[in-house]
Amino acid sequence: MPMLVRAWNSAEMSISRFLPDFAPIAPFSRLSESGILDSGSAPMSDAAVIEALRYMVLTRVFDDKATSMQRQGRFGTFSSVRGQEASVVGAATALDPKRDWIVPQYREFPALIRHGYPMENFALYFMGNPKGGTIPSEVNMLPMQISLAAQIPQATGLAWGLKMQGGDGVVITFFGDGASSEGDFHESLNLAGIVKAPVIFFLQNNGWAISTPRESQTAARSFAERAIGYGVEGVIVDGNDLLAVHEVTASAVAKARAGGGPTLIESVTYRTGAHNTADDPSKYIDQQELEKWQQKDPVVRIENYLRSKGIWNDELAKEMHDSCAEQVDVAMNIARSTPLATSDALFNHVYAEPPQRMLDQQADWANRNGGGV
């Protein structure tokens, strides 16, 4: 941007100027596109990689199943993880479900399942059954968040609160490139920097906010750079590289646990599916760009890595796929056989100590709809 330079007429000023840099950044990565590890040591054991791969495959299977069920009207509008499996799983596998918390947006299925959220609840939620919102008491997560970026201040406060009480838990919150434009993002990173909250802001830059491309979301070359404006560290990682995402997130978790405060991670990936089951990307997506990214499929990439180590083959892949399919079927069947909620589901859990007026309405609704039974 020549303007920026030309307009200034004083040399001294440079010391106090901050010029945006538009040179492209190479996101941190460990695996080549064909799945070959760089010269360094692997950040995950082979067993850990295979476990992670299973979550990625599980996600594919679930997404396909849910999408086809949705077409048959047996599932609600929902957003698949397609193309972002390494991004979500790489981050999730860096967490200790016993003490760490997940504060999700809505596109992090495998992270929630690994953390202990029952798959049937996830399914019930998208089938529109309030029971789906049930989070077992030992599972450290907040409900999925539909109001974009609203979860970020909550994650920051949660991490801050854990720290205040002397715990060593770390909080990770997921959000998209679109959500990062909301004021909640700014207010939260700023507070996290001040109180050094043990929180990881995991920004999934999947190139799109529904039909709005990343270029229309900000003029900055990266989202990660924003971190320094809050006295916080930022990093960009190749979101389709399971090992790289895991390594970066594990480092940020270790740092946070050790009192080093927050980290903003920009995971550069791509939404190779539709925004959700109600969306038709053909209206806006660039077919070539899409195909380019489809070539970078994160599942294929990590499978190639395992193959390059001689510990993976089609047979093992099929076994894994089948066991995932079975797991998904079990969950979907539980969800489908769960009775639809009665009218009490409108009232239960709204208050710890409900106002009489609401209780009267509950009785009234129950009489009308047999919801009390």
């Binding site: 309030p130 539909i146 109001s147």
Partner: protein, 327 residues
Amino acid sequence: MSEKTMVEAIRECLTQEMQEDSRVVVIGEDVGVLGGVFRATDGLQAKFGKDRVVDMPLAEGVIVGSGIGLAISGLRPVIELQFLGFGHQAFHQIGQQVARLRYRSQGRHSLPLVIRSPFGGGVRTPELHSDAFEAFYTHTPGLKVVAPATAYDAKGLLAEAMACDDPVLFLEPLKGYRLTKDEVPDERYRVPLGKLRIAQVGTDVTLIAWSAAVNVAQRAADELAGQGISVEVLDLRSLNPLDIPGIKESVSKTGRVAILHEAPLTGGFGSELVATIQQECFYDLQCPIIRISSPDTPYPLGGVEDLYIPDVDRVVSEVSALARTSA
């Protein structure tokens, strides 16, 4: 003249008004290339260019706040809030800035600004997409609130809102976008703000509704007719300005009033209507005014929303009870 859905009527209105007035710009999330998640702005960017139909970054506060600035600069922005629930993110700009700038500047800065937003339930959306939040805005002096129930009114009222020099919140029923279909003139026309529409003439009970609830009210009225109860259905069309004389006229005739809305009971716009009617028509009333609404709980997940928002059966049973209440 031809049958059009509500979303077609809205799109036609936007297209014609943008054609007529180059100061009109449309901004919002996904309004450009995609043409809006409900296609209300479909084709506008292709027709009027990227400068007049702008895909905004995902931030309702600055979408509305920059709209204020655009209006001050001499343009006439039409903002699409993708869902009314996300007006909460812009609430400080809408409630304290949009609604007050003209007063705060002692008339220097009028705000010819329209905020269009879908709202209301019944279509199995994700959380926070279906709440009927109109009462937050009807309690905001300086802001006009319009909520059409028919495609004809949608086109005419939107044209009027766009011509108005006051800011207008224009509420579009999610459920009615495609379901509502009626005769809509192809040419431009306007429907004035603040004049209700008698959706159905009746003599026994006045049933007041707006937006998607009008259709529920009418279907209930048809059933009630079968029971020999003659219901007058009023479609308010605009909540501010409110057609008080029109309401009085109907109530003075029937003496029995039911108000129907999707929002929770407590503090819904129905409460204002009851308060106003009992003030204006106290001696005409033969029995208490009833409110038929959702309960005082958050909007639920789609699987149970039909238990939440009032349906035809419920309206029928409550209104027939009302008609039988002894004076």
